[in-house]
């Protein structure tokens, strides 16, 4: 009888220890599981938004320019020179500070 009681107490004790350890282990998971719920929308949005945003900022302009064929680039340069000559001739006809500093529509600079 004493042996039976001892085994029963030991079993109950073992179950209690297991339950306590289980509870302690699952509490950490619950805390971690609650964190991603706070930022699920931010992470993918930042991922997809980052490339176009950077492109708009002009950072990869060099990479884009390299995609332009040399012939097209030369045409842009010549167009720029023509526009600048026209702007210079316009300034010389009626010299004002405003016409000297007028903005260009050249694709080389815009």
């Amino acid at each position: 009888m004493e042996m039976f009681m001892m085994a029963a107490v030991m079993s109950l004790l073992g179950v209690a220890v297991c339950a306590a350890l289980f509870a302690a282990a699952t509490r950490g998971e619950r805390v971690e599981a609650s964190r991603p719920a706070e930022q699920p929308a931010l992470a993918p949005q930042r991922f997809f938004a980052s490339a176009p945003a950077a492109a708009a900022a002009g950072e990869p302009a060099r990479a884009q320019q390299e995609l332009v064929p040399v012939e097209a680039l030369l045409l842009q340069i010549e167009q720029h020179i023509r526009l600048e000559q026209a702007a210079a001739e316009s300034f010389l006809r009626t010299p004002t500070g405003q016409s000297l500093q007028s903005r260009t529509t050249s694709r080389l600079l815009n």
């Binding site: 390299e66 040399v70 680039l73 030369l74 340069i77 010549e78 020179i81 600048e84 000559q85 702007a87 210079a88 001739e89 300034f91 010389l92 000297l100 500093q101 260009t104 600079l109």
Partner: protein, 156 residues
């Protein structure tokens, strides 16, 4: 030649203009033919009789030298005024954009004629000054505009 006189000879009587042009040698240039290269000895001044001549400067684009169009000269216009300005070296390259004809006026013969006919020389010098001065003013303005952009970029 067109009914109107070339810009080099503006203001001259027709007979006087004909005498100046008679000093020259007519050349035909097929499209793409080079009239002169940058740095060549400038021994002749050219008047475009027909066609279109491109004036280009070499520019390095993606590591390779390319001819970039700076100006075009059409019928009746003059090019190659470096022939009259020391040290007599062309500062641009000239090539025909389309089939063209030019009159090449040798500097020595032209200067001798102008010295012998001071009234003609005076008008021709005025016309050359107009070509040179106009280009100087245009390029000075272009340079100022580029400098303005450099200043803006340096402050950005």
């Amino acid at each position: 030649m067109t009914a109107t006189l070339p810009d080099l000879l503006a203001g001259l009587a027709e007979e006087e203009a004909a005498r100046v042009l008679a000093l020259g040698r007519h050349s035909t240039l097929p499209a793409g033919a080079v009239l002169f290269n940058l740095g060549d000895a400038a021994d002749s001044l050219f008047v475009v009789e027909r066609g279109q001549i491109a004036l280009t400067l070499p520019m390095k684009v993606r590591g390779k030298e390319q001819d970039v169009l700076i100006e075009e000269r059409a019928t009746g216009q003059t090019l190659g005024w470096s022939a009259l300005v020391p040290p007599h070296h062309f500062t641009l390259k000239a090539a025909a954009l389309v089939d063209s004809e030019v009159v090449a006026l040798p500097r020595i013969a032209l200067c001798a004629h102008l010295a012998a006919h001071p009234a003609v020389g005076y008008l021709v010098a005025q016309n050359v000054s107009a070509v040179v001065g106009q280009r100087l003013q245009v390029f000075q303005t272009m340079w100022l505009r580029e400098m303005q952009r450099v200043v803006e970029l340096s402050q950005a």
